[in-house]
């Protein structure tokens, strides 16, 4: 694939903490980690999805003024950012593995609408729905 969406970013409260979470607990890989002064461009990638990067950014200078950054940090911490969806082969297995690694689940796996889904949050408050791929099993 040569055209399409390459990066979608999340706001996180701490990039190091987010890195530990997405790489250490969810099994993503670091794609780019580039620092320029205080600014850090950090993206991670699902091991099975090489054409897509998930950006992990902290709201702040030089992109945003202090008041806007504070507002964004509050919005993220309240869980008010748009939902994210992670597709997995087996929702219950993934749930057990991730929970053992300390992922904060907000909903246990439930069978409905012909699939199984669960919910979890990253340390910053971003909410993920984890859905079993249809026909995976």
């Amino acid at each position: 694939m040569s055209q399409g969406v390459g990066v979608v970013g999340l706001y996180v409260r701490d990039q190091e903490e987010a890195l530990q979470f997405y790489v250490g607990k969810l099994g993503f890989r670091v794609h780019t980690d580039a620092k320029n002064g205080d600014y850090r461009w950090l993206t991670v990638q699902h091991p099975e999805q090489p054409s897509f990067q998930l950006g992990l950014y902290t709201p702040g200078p030089p992109m945003l003024d202090a008041a806007t950054a504070q507002t964004l940090r509050e919005i993220v911490a309240k869980g008010a950012m748009p939902p994210l969806v992670l597709v997995v082969e087996d929702c219950r297995v993934a749930y057990e593995q991730m929970r053992a690694r300390g992922v904060e689940f907000t909903q246990e796996p439930v069978s409905r609408y012909g699939s199984v889904d669960a919910s979890f949050r990253d340390p910053s408050g971003n909410g993920w729905k984890m859905i079993e791929a249809r026909g995976a099993k």
Binding site: R13, E74, A77, K78, G79, Y113, R121, G125
Partner: protein, 162 residues
């Protein structure tokens, strides 16, 4: 109304944890002390901070979530209203009915009747659409039309239901 004051994101994240717990089990009892413990703040601080963060006092938020669940059970199932009341966390039908009317503006029974009538009306839509779709259209050959119908059927069976 004044905008709520700026709040510490670390506190908000812990308040969100309490809100998530209510969302996951709104039929349970959620006294402020239980919620405050999850958020690791004092009871007095919890109630005030929760309202500033999410726009509703915690108890009110809990009632709203219970009513939401009750509404969807009334709409999507035939579970008797008394059972719905107990399943969604009420100990008395009186409190359930009163709170339900207070929040939605109608009684549980009225809502169920209205939603089910609306559902029947909706079922008419595909029927009209189907009638229109099957109206004979003689600008293509019957064999071609039959082939398209077959394709359409295959398409329909292949399609995933969202």
């Amino acid at each position: 109304m004044n905008a709520p004051p700026s709040q510490d994101p670390e506190l908000l994240r812990r308040l969100l944890r309490a809100k998530d717990r209510i969302d996951a089990a709104s039929h349970e009892e959620w006294p402020v002390e239980r919620l405050a413990r999850i958020s690791r703040v004092s009871e007095a601080h919890f109630a005030r901070s929760f309202k500033d963060a999410f726009g509703l006092p915690p108890h009110r938020y809990l009632l709203t979530r219970r009513i939401e669940r009750a509404k969807s059970l009334l709409r999507d199932t035939d579970v008797p209203i008394t059972d719905i009341a107990f399943q969604t966390g009420w100990n008395s039908m009186g409190t359930f009915g009163r709170t339900f009317r207070d929040i939605t503006g109608e009684s549980p029974g009225d809502l169920r009747a209205r939603e089910q009538a609306a559902k029947h009306a909706l079922e008419q839509v595909p029927h009209c659409y189907v009638s229109a779709a099957y109206r004979p259209n003689l600008n293509i050959a019957v064999s071609e039309k039959r082939r398209q119908d077959e394709d359409g059927k295959n398409e329909a069976t292949k399609k995933e239901v969202p």
